[in-house]
């Protein structure tokens, strides 16, 4: 098994994701430069947080044109796993790998704090080890995390169980007060129809160690790793 962490100029959570996979999940992992066009070595790639190409135009708007994104699309089409975190989620939406878009937070400010999300679907490779309804404590850190989509897309997301995480309060209630950025239907993370591409605004890589205040993020990486291992075993 091998993970790849894509590095765009301006990525700044690349080292954090690498640290989690290599030291805490204990799996082999490479940094993958944005000019790379071949991802065949990898079972899963992570698009990390940051400000790819400075994000001066619109978050993720330039990254979608980078050579590696063509490869990421092909990689996803093969059914391999793609996890986009924060800027990675924005890039996935911009590239059309996930529906909807992420616009400026409702209060117009950058927001960095711990929030809670409820796991809405545990039937994905990224949440297979986490019972639906679980409440995870994971930090957010973004200025453009306000998820929007039209009614039709929202209905589709709901009907296909593509909404994976929703912002919630400490009791697990999905309330307006618990929504930090104004996202439609408190959406914090969604997957594609095939369930092999996940985008989420919260940073699970920042919630993998007791000393950082939460280990809930680790469950996501553990689920993905176990899924890949299981698939490898089954294919043998």
């Amino acid at each position: 098994m091998k993970y790849g962490v894509i590095v765009f100029p301006g990525s700044n959570c690349d080292h954090d994701a690498y640290h989690v996979i290599s030291k805490l999940v204990g799996q082999p992992v490479d940094f993958v430069w944005h000019k790379e066009t071949d991802l065949s070595r990898y079972d899963a790639v992570i698009l990390p947080g940051g400000f790819s190409y400075g994000d001066y135009l619109r978050a993720g708007a330039l990254a979608k044109f980078s050579p590696v994104m063509k490869a990421v699309k092909a990689f996803a089409d093969e059914g391999k796993f793609v996890l986009g975190i924060c800027n990675g989620f924005q890039i996935l939406c911009e590239s059309g790998l996930l529906p909807g878009a992420l616009i400026r937070n409702q209060n117009l400010n950058f927001i960095c704090k711990h929030v809670r999300v409820r796991v809405e679907n545990s039937n994905t490779p990224f949440t297979s080890e986490i019972p639906a309804g679980s409440i995870l404590s994971i930090p957010i850190a973004h200025a453009e995390g306000n998820f929007i989509c039209d009614e039709a897309v929202l209905t589709e997301l709901e009907e296909n169980n593509q909404i994976v995480f929703r912002y919630c309060d400490e009791k697990g209630e999905v309330t307006k007060e618990a929504n930090p950025n104004g996202s439609v239907s408190n959406i914090a993370g969604i997957c594609n129809r095939n369930r092999n591409v996940l985008g989420m605004m919260p940073h699970p890589e920042r919630a993998c160690e007791e000393i950082l205040g939460s280990t809930d993020g680790r469950e996501i990486f553990r689920s993905l790793t176990n899924t890949i291992e299981r698939l490898k075993r089954d294919n043998r």
Binding site: P9, D16, Y53, I111, C112, E205, G213, S214
Partner: protein, 752 residues
């Protein structure tokens, strides 16, 4: 050298040089300078670059110690934290630009300090900011103050977040002296292996000088560009003197610089900060005892027809100057090109100790390095202690009978309420090392490669330093050390940023000199040498100066992350105790200002501060550190603004994974007033909590250090109740006051 341009008295004045200074220049050169040379002299001899008014005083500060690897004089100070790891850190002001253009002014302040740190070879791992604004409800300037504050915070967030360094702490303070003079001091800290530290030295005769990073434009050129026949008409259009920052480019510059440093092809490196190409080349040559030749036609430019004057004085951001090892410049250029950055050889190191600047085949400047640096003017300016009008203060408001009311007002007052609105806009968690989140006495960053963590705090108190500069400075240093001790860290070193009004006013210079002496004494006492820093004078508008505001950036070391202490009470039933005295002095407190409505000017006239006994302070800190080291305490929190009552409330408030808790406190009746007991801000006091079973050990430890110790209560329920003697003076629901405290700042900002 041909002088095409006549240098009149007016031109000299526009360059902020005095007639005497100009005369000195002509004597050094044995001729008149040309305009480019005058420009170079003007920036190198400016207060900002030459420290001409402060140098003779700064010499009195302690700068050496066991851990000091790089003392002041380089781009940042460096201290050894063990196992081969070093910390590079510095604080710098960006006050003037942040007033003119708050967003970009603050943003480029962050950019500049980050470059100072990675120039040393260190990867920046944390940033902080010390901010001071005029009061948001000021009848005349309130609206402006709010917009400055919003702009500054957004600018810091923009730069730090995009660059990918966590902004982990700092301070925000309001006083009307900062109304048209905000203070924006940016701090950065980086980590480097001892053997990989780089210096800003232009060593090795014949070594090529490489320009890397952003292209040079006309932005930030010395405010004094004058009409002259020599200039292209289009160049004269007034450019904003505040530069625009590009954090994305800086992030690339960081990665490229660190990669180039690892290649071994770099001899010396320096960032182009204030006075850009001029100061970087001159300072690097000065440190190495060499000279530099520059060919300006080779400088990457983003505008056309730039003159030598403009290029030498441009302050375009995100640029560095590198002296490469001869023959290895190509390696450096390739690395920068990989990161899609410009890298061009623009000159070489020469033996003759001169700066020689060529442009279009003409020698445009030929100046002795020493005259620009160590032989720049130094002034021993007159010092006169200001006369105090020694008034009898008559409070404008009555002390309320109900202490609950005063307490709640104080908790939600601008200088005491939570800074959540500010720090939530900063990414304070990127790099996953922030183990104590903002809002604590000091921020704590773990060093992943070790078991260590580094703590850091920024502290300043302009009010105290205006009342009594020497004692005020000592109180500031003492509080900085105490803040680090409260998270379980041993204070190890200091960086300082000295914000003052005009040095040409003798009473300002007197307070500067007094502050230096107070700071020197305290830093020697705590064995925390000052390894870097910055002086910012002329912080005044319309003839009104800021309060003398020295900021202390102190760092501490925790040898095992398991021993980090936080300020919140942990479990019901734990004992709460005070290291230090219960009695306190009310003078110069927030209570006097907020509740009794005494103005800062009146406090200054009265001239009274809480007293400080450095020996007792040290005993309390040593006891607290020992208790943290033995893992006997569950919380520690420093008593500062708002006194004991506010500190207790802050320990009750919730934090990540910890619900708010109440406390029942019983204070003994003393000769001091109840207000003083509750809200006095006397130093040398720390509130701790611990499990009851450890009482004996805790008490014994305190006694061993001769540290005053008393049990004052218990963690209990959902209310904070404080009794003095038999009388209950405060009883409040924690949840309620926490909400008020948390949201107050947002309220002040949105109030019309």
């Amino acid at each position: 050298m041909k002088t095409e341009f006549v240098i009149t008295d007016e031109v000299v004045a526009q360059h902020n040089l005095t007639k005497e200074e100009y005369k000195q220049i002509t004597e050094i050169l044995g001729r008149e300078p040309n305009l480019t040379e005058l420009g170079i002299f003007s920036v190198m001899w400016s207060e900002h670059c030459s420290y001409k008014s402060s140098k003779i005083h700064l010499k009195r500060l302690p700068t050496n110690g066991e851990r000091v690897i790089v003392p002041p004089g380089e781009n940042a100070g460096v201290v050894d934290i063990g196992e081969g790891w070093c910390i590079a850190f510095k604080i710098e002001s960006h006050n003037h630009p942040s007033f003119i253009e708050p967003f970009q002014g603050a943003a480029t302040g962050v950019g500049g300090i980050l470059r100072d740190v990675f120039t040393m070879g260190a990867r920046p791992i944390a940033a902080m900011n010390s901010l001071r604004f005029g009061r948001l409800d000021n009848p005349k300037h309130g609206k402006r103050n709010k917009s400055i504050m919003r702009g500054v915070v957004a600018g810091i967030a923009h730069y730090g977040n995009c660059f990918g360094v966590p902004t982990v702490g700092g301070e925000v303070f309001f006083d009307d002296s900062y109304s048209l003079n905000p203070l924006v001091n940016a701090f950065a800290l980086g980590i480097v292996r001892k053997e990989h530290i780089f210096f800003g030295k232009a060593a090795g005769i014949g070594n090529p000088v490489v320009y890397v990073g952003a292209r040079t434009g006309r932005d930030g050129i010395h405010g004094a560009i004058m009409a002259s026949a020599e200039f292209d008409e289009s160049a004269l259009k007034k450019r904003p003197t505040v530069q625009v920052g590009d954090p994305f480019l800086e992030k690339l510059l960081l990665e490229a610089c660190l990669e180039a440093m690892r290649s071994g092809a770099i001899e010396g490196i320096q960032d182009m900060g204030a006075a850009g190409l001029t100061s970087s080349s001159v300072e690097m040559a000065s440190r190495a005892g060499t000279g530099i030749e520059l060919y300006l036609d080779l400088v990457p430019q983003r505008e056309t027809n730039m003159t030598a004057y403009e290029m030498m004085l441009s302050e375009s951001q995100e640029r560095m100057l590198i002296v490469a090892k001869s023959g290895r410049e190509k390696e450096i250029i390739e690395i920068f090109n990989k990161w899609e950055l410009d890298a061009v050889v623009i000159g070489k190191v020469i033996e003759e100790k001169r700066l020689k600047v060529f442009h279009k085949g003409i020698l445009q400047a030929d100046l002795p390095i020493e005259a620009l640096t160590e032989n720049a003017p130094k002034y021993n300016r007159p010092l006169i202690a200001p006369k105090r009008r020694s008034t009898n203060i008559r409070p404008k408001a009555q002390a309320p009978d109900d202490f609950n009311e005063a307490f709640i007002t104080l908790l939600s007052s601008p200088n005491i309420c939570s800074r959540r609105w500010v720090y939530e806009q900063y990414d304070h968690m990127v790099r996953t090392n922030t183990v104590v989140l903002p809002g604590a006495d000091a921020a704590v960053i773990r060093i992943k490669e070790t078991r260590f963590a580094v703590s850091m705090s920024l502290d300043g108190n302009g009010k105290f330093c205006a009342i009594n500069p020497r004692l005020g400075a000592q109180l500031t240093v003492a509080e900085a050390a105490r803040n680090n001790v409260c998270v379980g860290a041993k204070p190890i070193a200091v960086t300082n940023c000295l914000n003052f009004a005009s040095p040409e006013r003798p009473e300002v210079m007197w307070s500067f000199s007094e502050v230096i002496d107070g700071m020197a004494e305290a830093c020697k006492f705590f064995e925390t040498p000052i390894v870097s820093g910055n002086v910012s004078f002329y912080n005044e508008t319309e003839g009104k100066g800021v309060l003398p505001t020295p900021i202390i950036g102190m760092i501490g070391l925790i040898e095992d992350t398991k021993k980090i202490v936080t300020q919140g009470f942990k479990s019901e039933g734990d004992l709460i105790a005070l290291l230090g005295d219960v009695e306190s002095e009310i003078e110069a407190s927030e209570y006097e200002q907020v509740i009794l409505k005494i103005s800062t000017e009146e406090l200054i006239d009265r001239g009274k501060l809480p007293s400080l006994d450095l020996g007792k302070e040290k005993a309390i800190q040593d006891a607290c550190l020992k208790l943290a080291d033995e893992m006997l305490i569950k919380s520690a929190h420093d008593i500062s603004e708002g006194g004991l009552a506010v500190a207790l409330a802050e320990s009750c408030f919730s934090s990540l994974n910890r619900k708010a808790v109440g406390a029942e406190i019983n204070l003994p009746e003393t000769t001091t007033s109840i207000e003083s007991l509750l809200f006095g801000e006397s130093p040398s006091r720390i509130i701790i909590s611990f499990a009851e079973e450890n009482l004996q050990k805790v008490e014994e430890t305190a006694r061993n250090f001769n540290c005053p110790f008393q049990i004052i209560g218990k963690v209990k329920g959902n209310k904070l109740k404080i009794n003095v003697g038999m009388k209950q003076v405060i009883s409040v629901e924690i949840d309620e006051i926490e909400n008020l405290w948390k949201n107050a700042l947002e309220g002040y900002l949105s109030a019309r």
